[in-house]
């Protein structure tokens, strides 16, 4: 990518020196951003005694995997991982189906009440999520879904934000494609599924990664619907670890590392989708 701003200066000596100063400032800040992760990684391989020393040691004096062993022994990691992953998959698939269908209808189909309904959906974007929690909890409880995987995933499948994002994506596609499909005799559902949907793949990808992020990281709702803990996701399991191993920091760091790793890997692979999702929405949390 060419950079219009530095390009005219790059040739000069002063421009190149300016670039070095910028890199220095950015690298120093980046070091601050990454330092906690580095400390976490180093600590995870220390013994509990070494981690509680003052002054602290930098490199583990005798690197050990004990912390990981303790973590895997005391938390049902695999079953909680499965819960987290299943809830994530269910929520992402549900979200994409619901949002794509509704987004397309709001963008392209005409039906009485469209404007009012869309306005109603969008108004809910402004309400903090805590206002829905009590009612959502009661609904999940009344359907006898407490402590199940669907309970974790269902509310997150429906979001006004997702519908809005998909509507914007469909609106940016020229109507000529649909008219062509219609002339070829395709019905609305086929037009939607085989002509329009493939064209909004980038937005679907962005919505999928954002939904994954919210799902994997969610704490409050998971705490509320998993009171007994048979179907606890990793995030709740990890929070519980702290009560058990209050100051056994290597174990806590090892757990934190294992629990965050899946999403960090997904992020490193699908960076562009993450950035597009955030940039096009501006929404977080």
């Amino acid at each position: 990518m060419t950079d219009p701003i530095t390009k005219p200066r790059n040739g000069t000596k002063a421009g190149r020196r300016g670039e070095w100063v910028l890199h220095l400032a950015l690298t120093a800040t980046a070091a601050l951003m990454v330092a906690p992760f580095a400390w976490q990684l180093l600590t995870a391989f220390k013994s509990t005694g070494e981690a509680s020393q003052s002054p602290p040691t930098f490199w583990p004096a005798a690197p050990t995997g004990d912390a990981f062993t303790t973590f895997f022994d005391s938390v049902p990691v695999w079953s909680q991982f499965t819960v987290s992953a299943s809830a994530l998959a269910l929520r992402v698939v549900g979200q994409l189906v619901v949002a794509a269908l509704a987004g397309y209808a709001f963008a392209r189909l005409r039906f009485p009440g469209r404007t009012v309904l869309f306005g109603l959906f969008i108004a809910m974007l402004m309400v903090p999520s805590q206002l829905f929690l009590i009612g959502q909890f009661e609904l999940i409880r009344d359907f006898k879904l407490l402590d199940t995987i669907p309970a974790l995933a269902i509310p997150g499948m429906f979001s006004a934000f997702g519908i809005f994002l998909m509507r914007q994506a469909f609106m940016s596609i020229p109507t000529a494609y649909e008219e062509a499909a219609r002339l070829d005799g395709a019905g609305p559902l086929r037009t939607f599924a085989f002509v329009m949907l493939p064209m909004v793949k980038p937005t679907l990808g962005a919505l999928a990664v954002l939904t994954s992020l919210y799902s994997w990281n969610d704490l409050l709702w998971s705490l509320i619907v998993s009171p007994r803990g048979d179907n606890r996701p990793l995030t709740v399991g990890l929070a519980g670890l702290q009560g058990q191993y209050g100051t056994d920091y290597p174990t806590l760091m090892a757990g934190a590392l294992v629990a965050s790793l899946p999403l960090i890997v997904i992020f490193l692979v699908l960076q562009r989708q993450f950035f597009n999702g955030i940039a096009s929405s501006g929404l977080k949390g």
Binding site: A30, A105, R110, Q130, L131, Q242
Partner: protein, 307 residues
């Protein structure tokens, strides 16, 4: 009246003749509508209603009018939580200028932008619970990294997250660290839309980088800065995770004085099962967020530049 009949008749006839029947529209929004109505609209109405009721843990509640709200106004815990959320929000707003400067710096460099963006974004994709644990360790009063670093320059250490005097500020610093990545992406998208000719023209006129930042970047980026500010306030007022993980432990007395509004809500509604009182807290939170947002939209006319 309904939307299509408000349109010119010619367009309507065309749409009616060629387009699918309105039933398709209803069918396609049906899943979204059912879900949003059952899980968002109805719960919203219910919470609103409950905030005017006395709700025992079991059995139906009784109508008590504004009792929950008057109790709330006289509740020291509520005001303290409110104050903590306000402090936390103010600290997070300090992150906005930091993000603006960093975004401009990243935009200026020729190579390596993607690397910085990824590094700054890491805290966003890391489990907040995990992040909170790492910081709790760094903040540890006896053997934490922060106190050790401070001791190198002769500053006495503190029990950062076990002391009411520091806890909310310590959490605020983590909040800035966590939100930087998202803010950088939004501001970076805004920077892309500033025409490069402006920089070329001004550097021919002899303007330096600092001058360019204040007279070109900042005014033209102000709509994005405004968006980031609004989103920061909304999400900061809803902070829960950091308090839950960093302060909640058996022996931590800082929790008493450092709760945020949403933590108090969680405690009342889902730990003590006083849902009416919890509902009132949530409704007040909605009002606060609405007021803060409306206020910002009013003030933006003075500093946001739209061309």
């Amino acid at each position: 009246m309904t939307a299509p009949s408000a349109r010119p008749p010619a367009r309507r006839r065309r749409a009616g003749g060629l387009g699918p029947s309105p039933l398709w529209g209803y069918a396609m929004i049906a899943p979204a509508f059912i879900g949003l109505a059952a899980l968002y609209l109805w719960p919203f109405a219910k919470t609103f209603g409950k905030s005017f009721m006395d709700t025992p843990a079991f059995g139906p509640g009784t109508w008590t009018g504004l009792d929950n709200y008057t109790e709330l106004l006289g509740d020291g815990d509520f005001w303290q939580a409110f104050g903590n959320s306000a402090i936390y929000t103010a600290i997070l707003l300090l992150g906005v200028p930091i993000a603006t400067v960093l975004a401009a710096l990243i935009q200026q460099i020729g190579r390596g932008r993607a690397v910085y963006r990824v590094l700054y974004f890491l805290p966003v994709v890391t489990l907040p619970v995990a992040v909170s644990m790492v910081w709790r360790f760094i903040y540890n009063g006896d053997f934490g990294l922060l106190n050790w670093a401070l001791s190198l320059v002769g500053i006495p250490g503190q029990y950062w997250v076990a002391d009411d005097a520091y806890a909310i500020y310590a959490i605020g610093a983590v909040g800035i660290w966590m939100s930087l990545g998202v803010n950088l992406i939004i501001l970076g998208a805004g920077l892309q839309s500033i025409p490069p000719e402006l920089y070329e023209a001004s550097s021919m006129d002899g303007a330096g980088r600092v001058r360019q930042f204040f007279s070109i970047t900042l005014p033209l980026l102000s709509p994005s800065v405004f968006l980031v500010t609004v989103l920061t306030v909304i999400s900061a007022l809803q902070m829960f995770d950091l308090v839950f993980v960093m302060l909640r432990s058996v022996d931590n007395t800082a929790l008493d004085g450092s709760k945020t509004i949403v933590y108090l809500f969680y405690e009342k509604a889902f730990v003590q099962f006083d849902q009416g009182y919890g509902a009132a807290i949530a409704v007040v939170l909605l009002l606060v967020i609405m007021l803060a947002t409306v206020f910002q939209f009013r003030v933006q006319r003075r500093w946001v530049f739209y061309d």
